[in-house]
Subunit: 229 residues, 2 copies
């Protein structure tokens, strides 16, 4: 059995998890050796960045060596997670033996804080790409980045694209097309795609600094390393 584990922690951006979770949960019907699980400190409901609360299917202890592990991102709660040694320890320990270590959005910062991105090309939410070098990673402005066993996706909705890419990698193009069809992923953004030329990335730094300051108030050393540059 190859477990694909999604890491749950309080306050995450829920679409970061649910996008790829929905995609990859379709995989076992085609390739029964895979099992998808959501792992957390316990199985009690935790808050998300929406009114929905969500609960893990397994504890970290129950799935110590998954085949693949994915870490979702978020705002202030994710910055807080960067200083949560217990969570980082679980992620580090799962990642050590996993064949695929992935993230969506600012989840890559958690991989970075766990020391897993050193020397890797990686991506994250567009507002936070400047933070990746702090963890020894080379930031890449792509929808998803595969580098060795690391598979990082850009912000929030990018996790869907990344997961479909992974289905293709694990089970082939035909299965990936069938999964895409089942979830009717034929996107038609009403206003078209994002016009990146018009996006003021640097202008959002103060907001990211606020998130860092709020999330890492109890970790002044780490905060000092990450903030303001």
């Amino acid at each position: 059995m190859k477990d694909i584990a999604f890491v749950l922690y309080p306050g995450l951006t829920i679409l970061d998890m649910v996008g790829p979770l929905q995609v990859l949960s379709a995989l076992p019907a085609f390739v029964p050796e895979y099992r998808v699980v959501v792992v957390g400190a316990d199985k009690q409901p935790v808050a998300t960045d929406t009114p929905l609360s969500v609960a893990a299917s397994h504890t970290f202890d129950e799935v110590p060596t998954p085949y693949a592990v994915f870490v979702p991102g978020g705002g202030v709660p994710t910055m807080r997670a960067l200083g949560d040694e217990k969570l980082l320890g679980h992620v580090r320990s799962m990642a050590e033996q996993a064949e695929i270590v992935g993230s969506v959005c600012t989840g890559s910062l958690i991989l970075g804080a766990a020391g897993l991105l050193e020397g890797h090309r990686a991506t994250t939410h567009w507002m936070c790409r400047h933070l990746l070098p702090k963890f020894g990673a080379a930031p890449v402005a792509q929808r998803w980045v595969r580098d060795g066993k690391m598979l990082t996706a850009a912000g929030v909705a990018a996790g869907i694209d990344m997961a479909l890419y992974l289905v293709q990698e694990l089970a082939g193009e035909d299965v990936a097309r069938q999964v895409q069809l089942v979830i009717e992923y034929d996107p038609q953004p009403p206003l078209g795609g994002i016009e990146w030329d018009e996006v003021d990335i640097v202008g959002r730094k103060p907001m990211v600094d606020e998130w860092l300051a709020a999330g890492l108030a109890d970790h002044p050393k780490l905060l000092g390393e990450l903030i303001g540059s």
Copy 2:
């Protein structure tokens, strides 16, 4: 306060809810008169079609008259919901006074079973469009359909497009673009969009009939009306 309520019931397809929930949860930061809630029979965690369990923020009784109500879809559990008079009663009662009554995926069949689609143009998951006329609705093969106060989306991922359209309607193009940017919705399906010409829609009918038979075994009259045609 204008409440935007998402209806939770056991076994739903979780991306049906989380896609538009993530989008619309960004709205109150721009227009504080809106509040987003997840309503259910109680606040206990319920199963989804993935390993994630999810819990409502409010009971039906706590939000009797939302401004907008959205019903997500799913497979067998959604077919089961078509015969759940208690759930249909809550949906009907919320819809009566709501300004916007919406659905994602097969959630529109629940609206139909509640008697809300009579004489309306509507859409649903591509596998189930043939069921809409059973509820007096005219099926439309579009990403989302706005007809009067009804706003129905196609399968699963279509809920994201529909919700961004709604943000634009409620708060204007600039806010819709900002929400799209925050969730980095700049889709790049690895294998491109869906090639509808190559999709065997009629060939999936037996699977939909199986879902109906499994979900409505205790409701032979309704099952007889919906199955096999």
